[in-house]
């Protein structure tokens, strides 16, 4: 397993830069939080780290290898709003989509992904019959089925009630303890940050990067961030 390394990334939509000089390193087998206010560039950064978008400046490596050569090693779970939740599909078929680019699709892999998120018993349910929390777990299972080594989750807890958020975070913690590298973006921050190994605070550039305690103490000096209740 390799570190995900970003060196001096900048990205703009037209002339307007949304990310400036981003450098960070994600350790393998860790659970990281990417936090920042709306418009901070979290989703853009995740798309860069997955290789879906290319930076204007800077480069991304997985270990020593440029990301563009190993894009399939990084999987991105999109925001809830980008999914057509009324599409006629069962949970099992959704998870199978994670293997759409893998030549020999494995039923075991699909079943294992469902088990990891605790949805085995709901495999034959339609996606729109699930609760919001279950839908997010189904989406996570699809992402896990991609056989990547790094998983980037874009605001997976948005629009979830507190118990569902806690359950989701418990699952990603278990996955990280099992050796997966996971980055979870959120525009909330607070006590729940303690559940993460490292925290990246973003507002167009990296404001703070380190353990939750290190980041929290650094952020105390930045009054605009506040201390919101988290998910």
């Amino acid at each position: 397993m390799n570190n995900l390394i970003a060196n001096s990334l900048s990205f703009s939509y037209g002339k307007e830069y949304v990310l400036k000089d981003i450098s960070l390193e994600i350790q393998p087998g860790t659970l990281s939080a990417l936090v920042g206010p709306n418009g901070a560039g979290k989703s853009t950064l995740l798309r860069l780290l997955q290789g879906q978008s290319l930076p204007n400046k800077g480069e991304i490596f997985l270990g020593q290898t440029p990301l563009k050569k190993v894009r399939n090693k990084v999987a991105l779970m999109p925001q809830r709003s980008s999914i057509n939740w009324h599409f006629p599909i069962t949970v099992e078929a959704l998870v199978a989509l994670g293997q759409v680019n893998i030549p020999n699709q494995s039923c075991c892999e699909i079943e294992a992904s469902l088990q990891r998120v605790g949805l085995s018993t709901l495999a034959n349910k339609r996606l729109d019959e699930l609760s919001g929390g279950q839908q997010q777990r189904a989406l996570l299972a699809k992402t896990l089925a991609q056989n990547a080594s790094i998983f980037l989750l874009d605001e997976p807890c948005a629009a979830l009630d507190p118990p569902s958020r806690l359950q989701f975070l418990r699952i990603v913690r278990q996955l990280a303890e099992a050796g997966l590298t996971i980055v979870v973006s959120s525009h909330d921050w607070g006590q729940a940050l303690n559940a993460y190994d490292q925290v990246i605070t973003l507002d167009q550039t990296v404001l703070a990067f380190g353990t939750p305690q290190e980041v929290r103490s650094k952020l105390e000096s930045i009054s605009s961030m506040g201390n919101h209740c988290c998910g």
């Binding site: 894009r71 980008s82 599909i89 759409v100």
Partner: protein, 263 residues
């Protein structure tokens, strides 16, 4: 035997009604799940200038129709690529513009075109070429499903995720636009380019209700469409009415009478 069947004046229109009744709703279910029914409506109008031009230069009108339908879809795709713009307004503008162009070309090129039959169809006047065209459209749809079913599911469910996973989203959308154009053009002789949208929509809405997969939804939609077309054809014969508009009215009535069955 076959010749004896087709010797009956009703045989070809009947077969055409059944085939169109299945093909259009199956395609409609695919388009609705991809949220591209408005694009299909655009294509159904954008085929008109191609039809007129093809007639003017002596080419098979269906070729021109398919080509201009795809061009209309590509123009709309290009103009709606920015997420900030109002896509519905753009698509409707392209729709009106292409239809207007088709209507203008008729006097400019000094050709005789039965615009009414293009817009509203004439099922009782279909010929073997129309049937073959519809069979080709059916085969093309089946080929698209055979080769790209899972990719189409991915694209309809999660377009961003499909792009992120390396699927050729633009090519898939172009293929979908091409198949839609083929279906619209092949249905033109039966129900016309305006009324085809009814057959693409109403049976598909019922077919999608509680369907566990896209192919189940398409199959169910085809069955509902078959019933509607059959009923429309028989009623048209019984009451000496035009089948195309009657099928359109039945689509509306089915929504009103069975609104509880809608998803």
């Amino acid at each position: 035997m076959i010749e004896a069947v087709f010797a009956n004046w009703w045989a070809l229109p009947f077969l055409m009604a059944l085939l169109i009744g299945m093909l259009c709703p199956a395609t409609g279910a695919l388009l609705i799940t991809h949220r591209r029914l408005l694009q299909a409506n655009l294509i159904s109008h954008a085929v008109v200038p191609g039809l007129v031009l093809a007639l003017a230069i002596g080419v098979d009108p269906s070729l021109g129709g398919v080509l201009s339908g795809v061009i209309g879809a590509v123009i709309a795709e290009r103009l709606t690529s920015k997420k900030t713009t109002d896509n519905e307004a753009i698509i409707n503008t392209v729709l009106a513009g292409t239809l207007g162009l088709g209507v203008l070309l008729i006097p400019l090129l000094e050709i005789r075109v039965d615009l009414e039959s293009i817009l509203f169809g004439d099922l009782l006047a279909v010929g073997p070429a129309d049937l073959i065209r519809t069979l080709l459209a059916t085969i093309t749809l089946l080929l698209l499903l055979k080769t790209s079913y899972q990719k189409l599911v991915y694209l309809g469910l999660d377009p961003d995720g499909a792009a992120a996973s390396g699927l050729r989203v633009s090519s898939l959308r172009l293929a979908l636009g091409f198949v839609t154009s083929l279906v619209v053009v092949s249905s033109m002789s039966a129900v016309g380019v305006v009324l085809v949208i009814g057959l693409l929509s109403a049976p598909a809405l019922f077919g999608l209700n509680q369907a566990p997969s896209l192919h189940t939804a398409m199959l169910r939609s085809a069955c509902y469409g078959l019933l509607l077309s059959l009923l429309g054809f028989l009623l048209a014969i019984a009451f000496n009415l035009s089948p195309g508009p009657l099928i359109g009215v039945l689509c509306l009535l089915s929504l009103l009478f069975f609104k509880r069955e809608l998803p």
